[in-house]
Amino acid sequence: QRTNISIMHPLVRDLYKRVIWVGKDYPQGLDYVRDKWKKALRNPHNCPSCYNQHNGSVVPIVVDDDASYKIPTDCERELRKAVGKGRHMVREMEGIIQLKKYRTMNKRYGKKKR
């Protein structure tokens, strides 16, 4: 038997790939982005129904070995919402990259006040 977090949901994998793609241009660097996102993706509070409360601690849900990929459906809904928030975050990161680029280019090549 395996836990549901040891199997990566394809949407989460796709989200992480998007993050790494954007992270290479992020001002604070790819390492910073990777650390923050790995922490966020592993955080049980971002998708509580994928975990069980077990005497005060959170425990991942156990799934059958023979299922190639399967998590409980109520978990799936919340996971998709979390992935949606993650994609929104990626768009925010893209915005920050574009803003920083514009500001730097404007400073370097913008109109010089006479």
């Binding site: 790939k17 998007r18 793609w21 954007v22 241009d25 001002p27 990626v90 893209e94 990259i97 574009q98 920083k100 680029k101 514009y102 730097t104 280019m105 404007n106 090549y109 913008g110 109109k111 010089k112 006479r114």
Partner: protein, 254 residues
């Protein structure tokens, strides 16, 4: 209308270059699309989205591995197809120079027959700003440099040019060469899903030696490359009187 967009692969704008042995060391340095070329690509793609243009072709001159990345970004932003002129020479000013680039572009324009050639104002590595005007001269086409806004149809364009003296509005008949300035538009970010879709788009790879009949030898030689002098340390003053004295006598500003 067909648009040809020139795209340059340069050192990323955020990288601090280091000068070594009278040259800039490009190994393991982050390279990306020239920001002004991104603006040109964005403009071309917007014209395609508003049905003014029928096809957008991105062209780059660069190494076989790095150039494809730059072209893939251009295709992900919305270009239809791309032409990659492969060369292992340096495309910053040191080996492939604006004159050679203009000659190659002239040959491509005669082949592809576009109505509009969109280029970035200048490359952030060489800061020449020469390919636009040179290409226009070689083709005998009108040119608008430092375009800050663009409107028009398939016959003519109305553009605003940004100069140090102010903004001037010009109308130009197509075919024409336009170089794009910072305030023309905000280029979209090439997201991963778009990069994946762009892998299906056609990239025509040609070696620079196929243009050997054009005289591509550099006519300018770079004698020296140095870093700018380090900033002088500031002077601490003890009192307002001392400050006024220094401004009056040493800096001579009051």
């Amino acid at each position: 209308m067909k648009i040809l967009v020139g795209v340059k692969r340069v050192v990323d704008y955020a990288v601090r270059v280091r000068v070594a042995n009278n040259t800039i060391d490009l190994s393991n340095i982050k390279m990306s699309m020239n920001p002004f070329c991104e603006i040109a690509v964005e403009q071309a793609v917007r014209m395609k989205e508003s049905k003014q243009a029928s096809e957008v072709i991105a062209v780059t001159i660069g190494p076989s591995k790095g150039g494809t990345e730059t072209l893939r970004t251009a295709l992900a932003m919305g270009c239809d197809r791309a032409i990659h002129i492969t060369t292992e020479q340096r495309t910053d000013f040191l080996e492939v120079q604006p004159r050679a680039v203009s000659k190659i572009f002239q040959s491509l324009v005669q082949e592809e027959d576009p109505s509009l050639v969109l280029l970035g104002k200048q490359g952030i590595d060489s800061d020449c700003g020469q390919v636009g005007p040179m290409l226009a001269g070689m083709l005998g086409w009108p040119q608008i440099t430092f375009a800050a806004s663009m409107e028009g149809d398939s016959d003519k364009l109305t553009l605003d040019r940004e100069t140090d003296a102010g903004t001037e509005t010009l109308e130009v008949q197509l075919p024409s060469v336009v170089t794009c300035d910072l305030r023309l538009n905000e280029p979209r970010y090439a997201t991963l899903p778009n990069i994946m879709k762009a892998k299906k788009k056609k990239v025509d790879v040609r070696d620079i030696s196929t243009f050997a009949d054009l005289d591509l030898e550099p006519h300018l030689q770079v004698l020296e490359i140095t870093e700018p002098p380090p900033r002088q340390a500031g002077v601490m003053v003890e009192s307002v009187d001392e400050l006024v004295d220094k401004l009056q006598n040493e800096a001579k500003v009051i």
